[in-house]
């Protein structure tokens, strides 16, 4: 049973989340406290040392990010909640931090709870918070790749390409490393965007900086010796991208 706290400044939304948790994970999660203000949230977390924190971005006297930076205790799984914050959502994705959109969907909530069970280490690392902080300030340069054993922080421009195999994504890096993440390629296609990255195929997302050559027939030779096919539907868009001015 996970001890959970909800940090949310709107009472109705807080109650909604409690009820939803009872509905989808009554036997796994127990809500032990809540807070509306950032100050209260810091005290609450430090005192109760929960296993799971639902954290809203907008609080009455500050933001969820402030709470994260001020707490002493970090041994919990973290799920951000937000109604609509494009900027923040991109930062979450880059920092590999889980989040739920309000109004919260039952299925999504259940998936998030299930994911927690797979992850052994529930620590919200100092580095991850730091990455989140930086990714909120400026265009992200680094991506956090969570694997079973560790959180890998990689530079975006060192990613040569990504390859999908089912619900896993393999990252191939410039130094030859391979990192396998248990998230679908779609998740990364949304944040690794053109003109630097391009999804040339159902199974391939490539960094155009690492293209060695490409043929009109639709085969790309990458600098890591891999040959990547271009799917028929993507050909036109790809050639256009490559011939546009100012592109690598």
């Amino acid at each position: 049973m996970y001890k959970a706290v909800i940090i949310e400044d709107e009472h109705r939304l807080r109650e909604a989340l409690s009820i939803l948790l009872e509905m989808v994970a009554d036997d796994q999660v127990q809500v032990v406290g809540y807070a509306e203000h950032a100050d209260d949230a810091v005290k609450l977390i430090n005192r109760l040392k929960p296993d799971l924190v639902f954290l809203d971005i907008m609080l009455k006297d500050g933001t969820g990010f402030d709470v994260l930076q001020r707490i002493d205790y970090r041994g919990f799984h973290l799920i951000f909640t937000t109604a609509y914050e494009e900027h923040a959502i991109r930062a979450f994705k880059y920092s590999a931090i889980d989040y739920l959109l309000k109004p919260i969907d039952q299925e999504e909530l259940k998936l998030s709870i299930d994911r927690i069970k797979d992850i052994q280490q529930k620590m919200v690392g100092e580095q991850q918070v730091q990455e989140l902080h930086e990714n909120l300030q400026k265009a992200p340069e680094r991506l956090v790749l969570p694997t079973l054993e560790a959180m890998h922080v990689v530079k975006v421009d060192e990613i040569v390409r990504c390859e999908t195999s089912g619900s896993y994504t393999t990252f191939l890096l410039a130094d030859g490393r391979k990192i396998i993440v248990s998230k679908p390629l779609k998740n990364y296609e949304d944040i690794l965007l053109p003109p630097l990255f391009f999804r040339v195929h159902q199974s391939h997302l490539i960094n155009v900086h690492y293209i060695q050559s490409y043929s009109k027939e639709g085969l790309i030779q990458m600098k890591d010796k891999a040959a990547i096919p271009i799917s028929r539907a993507k050909k036109e868009a790809f050639f256009k991208l490559m011939t546009e001015d100012g592109n690598p």
């Binding site: 709107e10 109705r12 939304l13 909604a16 006297d61 990010f65 609509y84 109004p103 919260i104």
Partner: protein
């Protein structure tokens, strides 16, 4: 015949003067030139010695100026190029560069750039004989260079201005020539001094009438001194043609002197002129001296020699690499005069044809589209003088010829006259037609531009409208509202969920409808705001009260642009009232007043929330919230185009303490 003399000399000396007027020496006093300007200046200084290198250097300077996006340097480079092309007699390039200089100079506040561009333009207008505009530009350049303390340039521009006033006010001719000389004396540069002295000399030459011995002697003495000074510093004078001009003018002065003329002095100065023009290869001066010699022999009655000389002058001009239709016209005019004196009217007619041809070419060359007015005016003046001339000849004929021969001549002249008159009438009407055609073209262009402008502003408005909907229905607000409804359903509070959902649906509908209309009534706006605030109150557990007040004079039927106010109310609620601790009762007041005279509705939104500064401190990471107000700001500035009072002001704090006041000035729609 005296007028003919002056015309003969002026075409050769005026261009020489104006070109000189723009000669610059490195280290001129005009402030601190940039390295690019210095480069262009050095290129320009080589224009007499090495044209290719001169142009190359100036083009390089222009490329550098372009790379650095420096409008000042660009304007100055263009001006130098224009002046160089003037010297090369390339009218197209001259025009293009002068225009470019003028356009570039408009982009900058730099006085230097403006001064140089005015100089280039003035020089251009003077070249195409649009003297009125030339004066405007040169006077501007003169004033600016004086402000920059570039006295060498002032001396030369002053001289040019003086020449340009020649056909007008003699007082001004004298004033600017004198000023030019005093500027030149300040610089102490022999080149500038000679140039300015020639301007003063030109004035004296014009004033010197043969019957006023004193004035004439004064002019002669002045030219002698000028030549003495010039010969002394001949080495340091780059533009040798000016020395030649001094000799030519002195020769002219002797020729115009009291009769009998001092032939020795005249011939001495003419020989000096020819010697100088040969030594320095001054083609224009040489050509003029041939013409002057022709004039001399014509005056002496040695028509055959004079005729030969004029023909030699024409042949010489034909060998020159550049066309000068004006001088050819003058040569033919002189030949015409000889023919008239010899009473050879067949020859007269022949020469007149050539004269008319070159005269036409001369004007065609200088005729720019914008010139047509001036051209037409000029032509009609020419016509009058031609009629006078022919009438004079006519009188002469009658005295000296047999009656029958005289009648034949009168008939011939009459024919020529009729032909000329017909020809000029045709030209006059052609010009008028051209002008009206151009005016039509201008009008069409203006209409097109107007249409384009309207389309652009329409597109701008449409794009804003498209974004309006998304900004007014802030996604954060929508999803929060949906979250609240979800919560009420989960808590089985059906009645409240239904009420909330109803209000939310109504608001969505209002915003959708209003985002598609140009204007809504104040009553509608108040209804939408009330609905919005009620929803927010439900969401925030009725944690604040609100009042919407409209003063008695304000008619709620008046029309305003839709959806301007709500973003500010949203800010007041989300960032002012919502963060208040439960112990503080929130209060939101929206007050409407109007000034019919200024066609403005004034909306004051006051909250007693935490205030701007505190809100900013708390929401360091929050980027979404300003979107709606930013778009509203854009809309207000778009409206500003029609109504300069539209705007909004934000004040931290209210009369009663913390909180925030926003004052919106909204244009009332007709």
């Amino acid at each position: 015949m005296r007028s003919l003399f002056r015309r003969f000399i002026l075409p050769c000396c005026l261009p020489a003067m104006v070109v000189l007027g723009t000669l610059l020496l490195p280290g001129s006093a005009a402030g601190q030139p940039s390295s690019i300007e210095t480069m262009a200046m050095e290129g320009y200084a080589q224009r007499f010695t090495d044209t290719v290198a001169s142009l190359n250097l100036q083009q390089m300077a222009l490329v550098l100026a372009r790379q650095q996006h420096n409008a000042e340097d660009k304007a100055i480079c263009y001006a130098y190029l224009a002046l160089t092309h003037r010297r090369l007699l390339h009218l197209n390039d001259f025009t293009r560069y002068a225009d470019s200089a003028f356009i570039e100079a408009k982009k900058t506040k730099s006085v230097r750039a403006k001064a140089y561009s005015a100089l280039a333009m003035g020089s251009l207008k003077s070249y195409i004989e649009d003297n009125a505009r030339a004066l405007d530009y040169l006077l501007e350049a003169y004033k600016l260079f004086a402000a920059l303390e570039a006295y060498d340039l002032c001396a030369r521009i002053g001289s040019d201005i003086s020449y340009l006033f020649a056909s007008g006010s003699q007082a001004k001719v004298k004033k600017y020539a004198d000023e030019a000389l005093s500027y030149a004396m300040q610089t102490g540069d022999p080149e500038s001094i000679l140039h300015a002295r020639l301007a003063v000399g030109s004035y004296l030459l014009d004033q010197a009438k043969p019957d006023n011995r004193e004035q004439w002697s004064e002019a002669v003495d002045y030219y002698r001194t000028t030549i003495l000074l010039a010969e002394k510093d001949a080495e340091s004078i780059v533009s040798k043609s000016n020395i030649g001009v001094a000799y030519v003018n002195l020769a002219v002065l002797y020729m115009n002197g009291p009769k009998p003329i001092d032939e020795d002095a005249f011939l001495f100065n003419l020989e000096k002129t020819i010697a100088i023009s040969r030594r320095y290869n001054l083609k224009n001066i040489y050509r003029s001296s041939i013409g002057l010699r022709g004039q001399y022999f014509m005056e002496k009655g040695e028509y055959t020699i004079a005729e030969e000389l004029f023909k030699e002058g024409i042949a010489y001009q034909q060998t020159l690499p550049y066309k000068d239709n004006a001088i050819l016209a003058t040569f033919y005019e002189s030949l015409k005069a000889i023919a008239a004196r010899q009473q050879n009217y067949w020859l007269y007619y022949q020469y007149d044809q050539s004269f008319a041809e070159y005269n036409k070419l001369k004007y065609d060359e200088s005729t720019q589209r914008t010139q047509q007015y001036a051209d037409a005016r000029f032509e009609s003046e020419k016509q009058t003088s031609l009629i006078q001339e022919l009438e004079q000849d006519n009188k002469l004929q009658r005295k000296n010829q047999l009656l029958g021969y005289g009648i034949a001549i009168v008939l011939l002249i009459g024919l020529v006259f009729m032909y000329r008159s017909y020809y000029f009438r045709q030209r006059y009407y052609q010009n008028r037609e051209d002008i009206s055609q151009q005016q039509q073209a201008n009008n069409a262009l203006r209409l097109q531009l107007l249409e384009k402008e309207t389309l652009e502003s329409l597109a701008e408005k449409l794009a804003l409208e498209r974004r309006l909907l998304s900004s007014q229905m802030d996604p954060h607000f929508i999803f929060n509202a949906l979250g609240n409804i979800q919560s009420m359903i989960l808590q089985k509070d059906t009645a409240q969920a239904v009420s909330y959902l109803g209000k939310f649906a109504k608001l969505t509908r209002q915003v959708l409808e209003q985002s598609r209309t140009e204007a809504i009534s104040l009553a509608e706006e108040i209804e939408t705001l009330t609905n919005y605030i009620e929803l927010q109150r439900l969401r925030l557990n009725n944690s604040f009260q609100y009042h919407i007040v409209c003063d008695d004079e304000t008619d709620t039927a008046l029309l305003i642009p839709p959806l301007l106010i709500q973003p500010f109310v949203e800010n007041a609620v989300e960032h002012g009232l919502k963060p208040l601790p439960p112990s503080h009762a929130g209060l939101l007041t929206i007050r409407f007043t109007s000034t019919i005279a200024e066609k403005l509705l004034i909306c004051t939104i006051t909250d007693n929330g935490i205030g701007l500064a505190e809100s900013k401190r708390r929401k360091a990471h929050d980027a979404h919230r300003s979107l709606a107000t930013r778009i509203t700001d854009e809309r207000l500035s778009l409206m500003l185009k029609d109504n300069p009072q539209a705007r909004f002001d934000v004040h931290d704090g209210t009369p009663t303490g913390s909180g925030c006041t926003v004052i919106l000035q909204i244009p009332i729609v007709n």
